[in-house]
Amino acid sequence: MAQLELFIQTIISGFLLGGLYALIGLGMALIMGVMRIINLAHGDIMMIAMYIAYGLFIFLGIDPYISVFIAAPTLFLFGVGVQKYLLTPVMKVESILPHNLVIMTVGIAMVLSNLATVFFTGNYRSIPVNYASSAWYLTDIWKNSPIELSLSMPWTLSFVIAVIITIGLWIFLSKTDTGKSIRATAQDLDAALLMGVNVDRLRNLTFGLGCALVACAGCLFIPIYYLYPSLGKQFTNIGFVITVIGGMGSTNGAVIGGLILGIFESVTATYIGMGWAPVGRFAIFIAALVFLPGGVASILRRKRLGK
C-alpha cells in the first residue's frame, strides 16, 4: 500500500510541477518559433518578475497571485524593449558565427542576474503567505482511505492559473489576427512578409509576450519556492529542455513537454535518487535531440497528417 501511495503521490507532484514548467516552456517556445533563437535569459526574466512580486508584497501587501497582473505587463514592455534595442540590431550584423543572438542573450542574462545580486544582495527571500504549506488531504474527504494523499494548495492554485493562462494563449494564437500572424511568421517568415505582416513589430510583440508568460510563471512560483538572484539558470535550463522535448517552436508541444518533464523528474527523484535529478533532465533532453529531433510536435503532426 505504501508503494502505491508513493507512486500516486509522485505522479501528482510531477503533474503539478509539469504544469508550471509548461508555462516557462511556452514563453521560450514562442520566442524560438518566431525568432529561431534560444533565449538564454529566460530564467533571469522570470527572476526579475519574482523580485517585482516580492517588492509588491513587502511594500504594498499585494498577494503574488494578484501580482501577475502587474508583473506580466511590465515584463512584456521590458521584452519589447530588449528585442527592439538589443536583439534586432544584432540580427542585422554580419559575422563569422551566426550564434551571436544566442550569445547576446547570454550577455543579457549575466547582466540581469548580476545586477539583481548587487541590488538585492544574495540573501534568500521568500513570501511566507499564510497558505504556503496548506494542503487538501484525501483522508479529510474519505475518512477511511487506506492511503494518504495530499494536494498542496499553492501548487494546485498555481497549476490551475497556469492552465487558464495557457488556454488564454491558445485562444489568442488561434482566434485573433495578431495571434495568427505570429503563427504564420513562425511557420514561414518569407511567406508572412509577402502577406504583409510587419515582421519587426511582430518580433517585438512575440518577445514581449514570451517574457510576459515567464513573468506569470515566476509569480506563480513564489508561494511554493523562494527567491535568489541566480535562480534564473535552472529555469532557463528547464525552459529549453521543454522546448526541445516539445518540438522547437510548437506551443502545444511545449505544454506536453512540460508535463512530461515534470513527471519524469518526479519519478527519477523517487526511484533513482534526487541527486541524479538534474542528470535526468539533461539526459531526456539529449535523448529528445538525438532520437526525436522534432519533439512531441512531430508526433502530433504525423498523427494529424495520418488521418
Partner: protein, 394 residues
C-alpha cells in the same frame, strides 16, 4: 629655494609621522564570502569580527597596536580564497584566519601549510582539514564528526530511535555531515533506512519525502542550508509526514531565517548546533546581546566563532615570542583560552591534528524561537517530546 626646503622638510616630517602612525596599526586581511551563495554567513562573520575588533581596540589593541581588519570577498570560491591568501602571505601577514565554507577552508589550509604560515580555521567543518597532519593549521571549531555529539546524546537519552532517514545537500558540508551521522547511527545501533542527497536549490522535494514517508523512520535528519531546510519542512508538513523527531544538522536549521521562512512548519524542529546565545561561557551572553542590539537578531554560531577567533588571534600574538611563523605556531599549540564560543585548546587526538574539541548542544524551535534544550546544564527551556502529529497541531 627656501620654499623648496620647507616643502622637503615637511614632506620628510610627514613621512615619518605617517610611518609612525602606520607602525601603530596591525593590518589583518580576512577572506570571507561576501557575495555568492554563502554571503549571508560571510556577513554574520564580518559583523562579528568587527564587534571583536572594536572591543579589542578599545582596550589597547594587540601589543599596543590597533587592529585594522580588511575583508576580502572570495565569492565563496576556493580558488579565489586561495589567491587572496597567497597575496596576504606575500604581504607578510603573520597569521591567516577566516573563510566560511569547508571547501574554501580546505584550499587555504593547503596553501598555509605549503608556505609555512599558521592558519586558524574558524568555520570550515569538514573532517579532513585537520586529518592531514598539517603542522600549521589549527581549527577552533569542532569538526563535522563532532557536530552532533550533543544531539546523539539527546537521541540516546530521550528519543531512543530505532531507525533514521538522512537527507543532505550535495555539498562538502552536507556530504560529510551525512557520512558522520551514518557512522554515529551505526555505532548506536540505529538503522539508516534512507540516505538521499539532493542538489541545493531544488524546487520539489516531495518525491524523496514521499520515499521517506514510505520508509517510516523514527527520526528524519537533514543536513541543509536555510532555504532548503525551510522548504523541506514546509513540504513535510504538506505531505503530513509524521515521525518521532525532525532534526537538522546545523547551519540552515540554526538561524532565525529558518523559522521566518518555514513558519508553522518549523515548530518543534530540533537541531544540532555548536553554540547558542544561552550558553554559559564567559562573554557569550554579552556578545549575543551586543550583536542583537546592533543588528536586530541574535548571531548564529558562526558569529560566535568569528568573534572568538579574533580573541584567539590576539591571545596567540601576545604570547608568541616573536611574530615569526614558527613562534606563532608554538603559541598556538600552547593555547588554553576560554572564549565566548567555548573553551579552546588545540590537541592531537583520534587522528586529528591541532583540533579543538568541544561539547555540542541541541536547540529546538519552541513558540517561534530557538531554545537550547540539551544538555540540561546549558538548557534555556525544557525540550518538547514527544511531538504531536501534523493533523493534531493547532
Amino acid at each position: 629655494m627656501i620654499r623648496l626646503r620647507i616643502i622637503m622638510l615637511s614632506c620628510f616630517i610627514s613621512f615619518f609621522t605617517i610611518n609612525a602612525f602606520a607602525q601603530d596599526t596591525l593590518k589583518l586581511g580576512i577572506p570571507l564570502p561576501l557575495t555568492g551563495t554563502n554571503a549571508k554567513f560571510g556577513e554574520i562573520e564580518k559583523k562579528s569580527y568587527e564587534i571583536a575588533q572594536d572591543e579589542i581596540n578599545s582596550k589597547g589593541g594587540i601589543k599596543g597596536k590597533k587592529i585594522v581588519l580588511e575583508f576580502e570577498d572570495s565569492q565563496g570560491k576556493p580558488e579565489i580564497s586561495r589567491s587572496i591568501v597567497e597575496r596576504l602571505i606575500d604581504k607578510k601577514q603573520p597569521v591567516i584566519f577566516g573563510e566560511y565554507s569547508s571547501s574554501s577552508s580546505k584550499a587555504i589550509a593547503a596553501v598555509a601549510e605549503e608556505r609555512k604560515t599558521p592558519y586558524l580555521v574558524v568555520t570550515g567543518a569538514t573532517d579532513d582539514i585537520t586529518q592531514q597532519n598539517y603542522k600549521y593549521v589549527f581549527r577552533m571549531n569542532p569538526s563535522n564528526a563532532y557536530y552532533a555529539t550533543g544531539f546523539m546524546s539527546f537521541l540516546k537519552a530521550v528519543v531512543k530511535p530505532k531507525s533514521i532517514a538522512i537527507l543532505y545537500e550535495s555539498s562538502d558540508f552536507g556530504t560529510s555531515g551525512a557520512e558522520d551521522m551514518v557512522n554515529q547511527a551505526q555505532k548506536d545501533g540505529i538503522k539508516v533506512l534512507v540516505k538521499e542527497q539532493y542538489e541545493k536549490g531544488a524546487v520539489d522535494f516531495k518525491p524523496i519525502l514521499s520515499k521517506v514517508k514510505a520508509a517510516k523512520p523514527d527520526v528524519i535528519y537533514m543536513v541543509s542550508y536555510v532555504m532548503d531546510a525551510a522548504l523541506l519542512m514546509r513540504q513535510i508538513k504538506e505531505l503530513r509526514i509524521d515521525t518521532n523527531l525532525y532534526a537538522g544538522g546545523a547551519a540552515g536549521f540554526a538561524i532565525p531565517e529558518f523559522i521566518e521562512n518555514a513558519k508553522e512548519a518549523s515548530a518543534l524542529v530540533v537541531t544540532a548546533t555548536l553554540w547558542s546565545p544561552q550558553v554559559k561561557y564567559s562573554g557569550a551572553k554579552e556578545f549575543a546581546e551586543k550583536y542583537k542590539k546592533l543588528y536586530k537578531d541574535y548571531p548564529s554560531y558562526h558569529g560566535a566563532e568569528a568573534y572568538s577567533a579574533l580573541y584567539i588571534i590576539k591571545d596567540v600574538l601576545e604570547r608568541a615570542k616573536s611574530w615569526k611563523p614558527d613562534d606563532i605556531r608554538s603559541a598556538f599549540k600552547s593555547t588554553n583560552l576560554m572564549t565566548a564560543f567555548g573553551p579552546v585548546k588545540f590537541v592531537d587526538k583520534e587522528g586529528y591534528t591541532n583540533q579543538n574539541f568541544m561539547d555540542s548542544i541541541v536547540m529546538q524551535v519552541i513558540d517561534g524561537k530557538h531554545e537550547t534544550i540539551w544538555p540540561a546544564k546549558y538548557a534555556s527551556a525544557k525540550y518538547v517530546y514527544p511531538i504531536p502529529k501534523w493533523k493534531d497541531r493547532k
